[in-house]
C-alpha cells in the first residue's frame, strides 16, 4: 500500500529496479540506486537526531542529489523545506528560523551563503553534503560518507499520511514569506490524480523544469515515481535558453513536459522547435499563469500530435482544476481553467460567503485531500484561509479560500477572472505586492511605495514600483535596489523604480495603484 510519498520509490525499486528514476546532465540513478541512496540518507539523518515531524532544509542547485534529498528526508519521517538557491540569505535565514531547521542538505559551493545564514541566526547543527574542511560551525557530513553508510533496514519511524511532507515558502503580504504545509496525503492525492489523468507509464520521461521550492516540481517528481517513470531534472542555467530547452526535449526524449507558460512561449518564439524532433512528446502541461491564446494557438499548430492541458491551483491546493485543450476559441479570449479535479469539490461564493448561482462571478473555494494543512506557525492566517460550511450541528466541511475570482461557464468549465487582493504572478511566481512595498519602505529615505504589475505582452507581468522620498532627500535608485535585493527573491525585484512627488489617491485616501498602472502603460504606449 502506498500512503506515503517515498513508498512510491521503494515500490518502483521492487517492480522496475533498473528503470531510470532520475536523470541530470547525462548522469542518472536507477530506482534501485535511488532507493539505496535515500535509505542511506535517511539513516544518516535519523542518526543525527532527525525525528518524525522535524523539518530538514534543502539548499541545492538542481542535481541528482536534489531528488535523493527529498526522498531521504521523507524516509526519515521529516518534512523537506526547499530553499531557493538564488534567493537572498536574509530571506532564507528567516525561513530556517521560522520553521526551526537544524539539518540542512547543501554543497560546499553554497557554504559562503550558509555561513551568512548562520550569522543571521539560523541554528544549523548538521550540514549534509559538505566536506569536513568546511565544518567550522556545524557538523559536516559529505555525500561519500552518506553513501558509504550501509543500511540493512530503516527503523520504522511511524509516519502516517497526515504527517507533514513538505513546506513551500511563498510571498507573504506583510513582508515575510509564509510556509505552506503539505502532508503526505495532500501531496500524494495530487500525484495519484496526475499519474492517472495523464496516463503515466514506466516508459515516460517527465521534465523537471520548475525549481524545488515551486509547487510544479511535485508533479515532476512524485507523479513520476508513482508510475516508475523517469524525472529529467533540468539544470537551472538551461531554463534560461529556449533553444537549449527545445534541444533537451529532443535529446532526452521527454514524453510529458510541465512548466509555466512563459517557458513554452519563449520556446515557441526563440526555441527553433521546427527543427527539433519532438516525436516522443505526448503531453504538454502548463500552470501558474494564463497562457495567452494567441501563443497557445501557434504552439498547438506547430505540435499537432501533442496533447495540451491547462492546470490550475494555488500552492495551497497543489492542483485543483484542469482543462484539456482540444479546441481554442476563435478570439484571443483566455482559455478556461477547466473543471474541478476528481475527488475535489469547488464552491463559488460572493463577498458575504454565500454561494452564488451557477454562472455568477465569485471567489473559488476548494475542498478535498489535495488541500494544505495550513500555514506554518500562523494559526490566524490559517483560520482566515479556510471557510467552514456547516453540514449539521458539530459537522463542518472545510474549504480553502483561493482568493481567485471565477465564473462557471455553461459547459461547466471555470473561467479565471483575477485576484481579490494584491497578489500577482510574474513568470509563474506569485508575488504579494505588499511584500515588495514593505521592502521598499524599509529603506530609510523612502516615504511611501506603491507596486503594480505591467503586462509584458507575453501573458506575464513585469513589476514596476513608484516611490515618494522623505523630505525631498537625494536618493540613489541603485542603492535602493541594492537594499531590496537583500530582502526579495530576484523574480520579485521591480524592473523599474520611479520617483514621484505624490501618488494618485482613491476617494478613501488609499494609493491608487490602478491609476499608477494606467499612467505607466500610457507611457509605454507613447514610446
Amino acid at each position: 500500500m502506498v500512503y506515503l510519498l517515498h513508498q512510491a520509490v521503494d515500490n518502483a525499486a521492487e517492480k522496475f529496479p533498473e528503470n531510470e528514476a532520475v536523470r541530470f546532465s547525462g548522469r542518472s540513478l536507477t530506482y534501485a540506486e535511488l532507493k539505496q541512496r535515500t535509505d542511506r540518507l535517511a539513516a544518516v539523518l535519523i542518526e543525527r537526531g532527525v525525528s518524525r515531524g522535524d523539518r530538514v532544509g534543502i539548499y541545492l542547485k538542481k542535481s541528482l542529489e536534489s531528488i535523493v534529498a527529498i526522498y531521504g528526508i521523507l524516509k526519515a519521517g521529516a518534512a523537506y523545506v526547499p530553499l531557493d538557491p538564488f534567493a537572498p540569505t536574509a530571506r532564507l535565514s528567516f525561513v530556517l528560523r521560522d520553521c526551526d531547521v537544524h539539518h540542512l542538505i547543501t554543497t560546499d559551493d553554497q557554504m559562503p551563503f550558509v555561513v551568512e545564514m548562520m550569522e543571521q541566526g539560523a541554528e544549523l547543527e548538521h550540514l549534509i553534503g559538505v566536506s569536513s574542511e568546511n565544518a567550522a560551525l556545524a557538523e559536516a557530513i559529505a555525500w561519500e560518507e552518506v553513501y558509504a553508510t550501509p543500511v540493512d533496514s530503516l527503523p520504522n519511524v511511524g509516519t502516517i499520511e497526515q504527517d507533514l511532507a513538505y513546506i513551500l515558502y511563498t510571498s507573504g503580504s506583510t513582508g515575510d514569506p509564509k510556509g505552506i504545509m503539505h502532508t503526505h496525503r495532500s501531496g500524494l492525492s495530487f500525484a495519484q490524480w496526475a499519474a492517472e489523468t495523464y496516463g503515466l507509464q514506466p516508459e515516460d520521461r517527465l521534465s523537471n523544469h520548475a525549481p524545488l521550492h515551486f509547487d510544479l516540481s511535485t508533479f515532476d517528481i512524485f507523479a513520476a515515481s508513482l508510475a516508475g517513470a523517469t524525472t529529467v531534472v533540468i539544470p537551472e542555467p538551461l531554463t534560461k535558453f529556449p533553444a537549449s530547452l527545445s534541444r533537451l526535449i529532443e535529446s532526452e526524449k521527454i514524453t510529458v513536459w510541465y512548466s509555466v507558460p512563459f517557458a513554452l512561449i519563449q520556446m515557441l518564439l526563440r526555441g527553433g522547435i521546427e527543427q527539433r524532433d519532438f516525436s516522443s512528446l505526448r503531453w504538454l502541461l502548463f500552470a501558474g499563469e494564463v497562457f495567452p491564446t494567441k501563443h497557445l494557438r501557434q504552439l498547438m499548430s506547430k505540435l499537432p500530435n501533442v496533447k495540451f492541458s491547462n492546470l490550475y491551483g494555488p500552492t495551497e491546493t497543489n492542483v485543483c482544476t484542469y482543462y484539456h485543450v482540444e479546441t481554442l476559441p476563435d478570439t484571443d479570449e483566455p482559455i478556461p481553467i477547466g473543471i474541478v479535479c476528481e475527488n475535489a469539490e469547488a464552491l463559488v461564493v460572493d463577498a458575504d460567503d454565500q454561494p452564488v448561482s451557477r454562472g455568477e462571478v465569485g471567489e473559488l473555494l476548494i475542498r478535498g485531500p489535495i488541500v494544505m494543512r495550513g500555514y506554518w506557525a500562523q494559526p490566524e492566517k490559517t483560520e482566515r484561509g479556510f471557510f467552514k460550511r456547516k453540514v449539521f450541528d458539530y459537522l463542518e466541511d472545510i474549504f480553502y479560500r483561493t482568493g481567485d475570482l471565477v465564473q462557471q461557464q455553461e459547459d461547466g468549465n471555470f473561467k479565471y477572472l483575477g485576484r481579490k487582493d494584491h497578489q500577482i504572478k510574474t513568470r509563474g511566481y506569485r508575488v504579494e505586492l505588499g511584500e515588495i512595498e514593505t521592502a521598499l519602505v524599509s529603506y530609510e529615505l523612502v516615504e511611501e511605495a506603491a507596486v503594480y504589475p505591467i503586462p509584458d505582452g507575453q501573458g506575464s507581468n513585469l513589476i514596476e514600483a513608484a516611490i515618494t522620498v522623505k523630505n525631498g532627500a537625494d536618493i540613489s535608485i541603485e542603492q535602493l535596489e541594492e537594499h531590496i535585493a537583500k530582502r526579495l527573491p530576484s523574480y520579485a525585484m521591480p524592473a523599474n523604480i520611479i520617483i514621484t512627488d505624490s501618488f494618485p489617491r482613491t476617494s478613501t485616501g488609499k494609493i491608487n495603484r490602478r491609476e499608477l498602472q494606467s499612467q505607466a502603460l500610457a507611457q509605454t504606449e507613447g514610446l
Binding site: 534560461k240 535558453f241 533553444a243 527553433g272 525585484m493
Partner: protein, 82 residues
C-alpha cells in the same frame, strides 16, 4: 573598449541590479543567478544593437552565454563567419 569590456560594462550596469558582486570574465553568469531569462533577452538585444550583429535564435544557448569570456569568443567567431 574591446568586446569583452563592453559586455562586462553592460552586465554590471544594467543586468546586475542591486547586486554588488564582483564578476570576472570567466565567472558563471547563470549558475550564480546573475542573469535571468529576461536578462538574456536584454543582453541579446544589446549585442544586436551595439555590434550590429543579428544573433540567430539557435545560437542563444547555454554554451555561448555562460560567461563573458564564452560570449566574447562566440561573438568573435560568429562575426568572423558572417
Amino acid at each position: 573598449m574591446d568586446t569583452q569590456a563592453i559586455l562586462m560594462d553592460y552586465i554590471k550596469k544594467e543586468l546586475m541590479k542591486g547586486r554588488n558582486v564582483d564578476i570576472s570574465p570567466s565567472d558563471d553568469l547563470l549558475g550564480s543567478g546573475i542573469i535571468d531569462s529576461l536578462g538574456i533577452l536584454q543582453l541579446v538585444s544589446f549585442i544586436e544593437e551595439r555590434f550590429n550583429f543579428q544573433v540567430p535564435d539557435e545560437d542563444v544557448v547555454f554554451e555561448n552565454f555562460f560567461s563573458v569570456e564564452a560570449l566574447t569568443n562566440y561573438l568573435k567567431n560568429a562575426q568572423a563567419a558572417a
